[in-house]
Symmetry: C2
Subunit: 632 residues, 2 copies
Amino acid sequence: MVYLHNNEKNLIIQSITNKPTNVTFQQHKVTRVERSAILGRHKGYRGCTLWFTGLSGAGKTTISFALEKALIQLGIPCYSLDGDNVRHGLCKNLGFEKEDRSENIRRVAEVSKLFADMGVITLASFISPFKSDRENAQLYKKARAGELLGFTGIDNKYEAPQKPDLVLNAGTETEAESIQRVFQFLHEKGILPESALHHFYGQSVRELFVMDEHERFSIVEKTQDAPEIELTLVDLQWLQVLAEGWSSPLHGFMRERQYLQCLHHGQIVDLKKKYYMGEGESCEESETSSLMESPINQSVPIVLPINNEQKAKLYINNIEKEQPSLVSNVRLVYNGKLVAVVSHPEVFPHRKQERVCRQFACNDPRHPGVKLIMESGDWCLGGDLHVLERVIYNDGLDEYRKTPMELRKIFADAGCDAVFAFQLRNPIHNGHALLMRETREQLLKRYKNPMLLLHPLGGWTKDDDVPLPVRIAQHKAVMEEGILDPKWTVLAIFPSPMCYAGPTEVQWHARARLAAGINAYIVGRDPAGIQDPETGDFLYDPTHGAKVLSMAPGLSNLEIVPFRVAAYDKKIGRMTFFDERRKEDFIFISGTKMREFARHGVQPPDGFMAPKAWNVLANYYEKMGMDNRVKK
Amino acid sequence: MVYLHNNEKNLIIQSITNKPTNVTFQQHKVTRVERSAILGRHKGYRGCTLWFTGLSGAGKTTISFALEKALIQLGIPCYSLDGDNVRHGLCKNLGFEKEDRSENIRRVAEVSKLFADMGVITLASFISPFKSDRENAQLYKKARAGELLGFTGIDNKYEAPQKPDLVLNAGTETEAESIQRVFQFLHEKGILPESALHHFYGQSVRELFVMDEHERFSIVEKTQDAPEIELTLVDLQWLQVLAEGWSSPLHGFMRERQYLQCLHHGQIVDLKKKYYMGEGESCEESETSSLMESPINQSVPIVLPINNEQKAKLYINNIEKEQPSLVSNVRLVYNGKLVAVVSHPEVFPHRKQERVCRQFACNDPRHPGVKLIMESGDWCLGGDLHVLERVIYNDGLDEYRKTPMELRKIFADAGCDAVFAFQLRNPIHNGHALLMRETREQLLKRYKNPMLLLHPLGGWTKDDDVPLPVRIAQHKAVMEEGILDPKWTVLAIFPSPMCYAGPTEVQWHARARLAAGINAYIVGRDPAGIQDPETGDFLYDPTHGAKVLSMAPGLSNLEIVPFRVAAYDKKIGRMTFFDERRKEDFIFISGTKMREFARHGVQPPDGFMAPKAWNVLANYYEKMGMDNRVKK
């Protein structure tokens, strides 16, 4: 049994202040708070000591080192003070007599105090005096056999603490469970911020579903009289993105504060509801709920546009006030069905001209993404979103619509240690497949089982893009033909609509997949690009996507795999990476050319695409051709 | 004399690695590098121990605590281990016998190792054994008087280190000088990054002037045959901004990398020259020169546009290569005079449509800032800028053109402990002055001598703005009439051109003044705003400036003072802060109305503006009216 008990001198909440304790007789010129402001990713002093005690072999060092790693991953400075290490340094002049053991512990406690004063969480695992000689299993065996006397935990009395703060049981708990319990304990003591806790528990995914049936019932009941807003299909798709946690940690459709953060800096800096500027406006929101560990990349706004008529429904006349006031809850409805409720709503100007300029660097209404926005409402409805049930479409593809948490489970169950994502909204040819296979080979040098998240975009696309069902059928055919190995490929649908916002949007495409636990992202050539409606040229510099992605704040933990151009190599009769030095050997088959082939029933060169996958495409274009002729 | 000598076990460069030392017999699951990645504002392991030794009273504790503060301010984790504190804790069971003194030092050295392993710079000031009893001056006096024997440094032999790494002399150096020398030493040992050093020395201002006459001569000589680019006046103004360090840490006109960082995220993330993507492209640039402590807000691009013809001059035919190659240096010329040289030049597409959309959220060529850019060249010339001499205009106003370093000196010499800045491009009325005075009152609650940087913009403005010389004369009159007290007001010219980019530009206006050492920035109403050329309405939401500024990444150390609207209070006959509850008492005199008054010789109400200052304006508009009549 492992006891974890705190060093009272340090773990009491009072010590988490700026007051000099007896450690600092000489008053430093820097306060604890000042020093802690630069330590780790979370502001605030959180120095303390966790004292692990328990019999030898109970797992003190194991849990202490695992906890150290988990805390560092969260951006919280900590240090494991291990008995063995101390025995070789600070306490090497001590023996194992009772007095020396006490002195050993006393010194460690004093060192822990210094570390805690510095702002570090110190993990001290000691007590079993002979652990420093654990390597000498023989010695320990002798003690077990009763040959040596006075060994703690064997025949010397081990005094288990009377009131430990936490009892961990390495025998019945997994390491992860033990860590979770310590984290919960640290959170209750005010040492771990909620955001850090959330990051660990939820793997940084914030779902917005109302999971509890009673709560769902109560929300429906309470909002009986709330005004209703009818969602468009694109609104519903964004709602799904929010609900499933692709845009964590957003609580719902953006408020103006987050909208401005997104438009101006391409990231979410905090989740506060208001601005709190000027006099008398103090911030009411608790730090833990609205402050974030670090800014999160969010280049594309996720807002709910409403028109004047819809806006008018959200205000009620109030006898006490001159102006009508905003309702407390808004119901969101799709096709007549209640989908979600927005609480603490906020209405703010959409400012569409400004938005499209900042988001698309283009305000030409012939741009399909710009057009969609310019035709939407002049106001936005922000607020906290409570989604009543999973969004499904009953189009035969729902099984491919996996949430980030579901994908994480799939990868975890498969024993996968690295995930690389490929975003696409086009059919896969063998050049794409080559790049994915090559990426896996590269990752295999560093990981045991890297897996591919083959992640076609499933939301709104412009009219001349290949429809989702055709693309899914084509992707399945590619896997069935073994071009991509189903053993390391997971095919799933990314619910987001397209924007066609080039380097701005590629950041969203990469960042959203972080929720599904990816480590690497393959960036496309001209990602999320589109033709300039005026000139017909690339609207965005095709190289900017990868460039911006590689520098984007909030994505530094994501490995960006640059696109490598593959072309049809006439010499060997298959797709290979383009080689400038023998460029005459290559044929480039663009998306346009590919569609032309398919439309006119022309077979592309062997090895360009898996034949079964090609047939899916050819059939689609043939059928579309027939339909068009019928229409005419 | 203070000896500073390093603890060799820790300060040797080899220890700054990830290798387990004898400290860590038990291998932690986290490496030093991983742990250090979350420590402080600079990535990288820099754990080490600085061991201060010297006689009692030599200033060990003083310098150690001052150094601790300076390092923390730079974002570098460190901790002062002080003898007194340790004597009350870790070593309280030790006496002052020779053996105990050795054991005291041994323990401290071991604790320092643990701190260094954690990634912390440990400042250990010990050796003089009785310092822990320094409070007991009596005792020490006795020793001085020879009453007690065996005191280190008095009659006991003090063994000065034979080869100290650094010798500080508290008697002849100031504390700041000592700290600078320690910083330089740490930099040489690879512990302090250059950016941190630079931050401390240059107070975060990077000037781009070639200070050394020989170097200047050599640059002129070497670039005899370099192609010349003729600058426009606006180019020259931006060059001045760069040269004087307002846009620190930029090395010159932006390269594409920084241009994209600015356009997409409103900040500079690093100063690297290239992208280093794809295979074979490893980063050649040293970390210290191109990585930054933390991203710096930079919302407005600072680029040098060149046209096709100018671009053509920058390429030379190369026999060995198929394509012409870029020259190594470019001379920048204004009015036929050599102003600066660009080394390591880079030419990249300006992409003006994209730029104006992202920068202005508007691409209407009737917007004067948009127009200026749309009429400029299609390419940009980036590179490292070497400015040969100070930019002056000989317009009688050069004395007001103070560099950030000069302003810092003025404030330092005046014993100022907080600076608040007011940016303006309009005449000052008493409402503005009220706000400035009120801000000072607020700051006086926390500071002893807060001073105002009255900082009119001196670069290009649109035609109907009041010209700089008139504004300076008006501002001087305001000070002469005592509306703003010259004792706490410094009038200087900000050399930047205007953009009229609203919330994007206000960030630039605030951030640039950080170079001059400001602590607080008064944000205007509709800052950097302009009319929508289409609708005549505000182009930007007037509240967005303050909102965006309050959330902008990289400005968290700057206090944003929100604008408070003042209006003419008819009841008391002067400008006061507007009070909603008695709004009928107020008259609003807009800039347009003010100009109308001045143009038609109408006197504004008493107390609206200092009379002398009003006359400056009235005379200007009268003269302009006469000139216009003459022209007609």
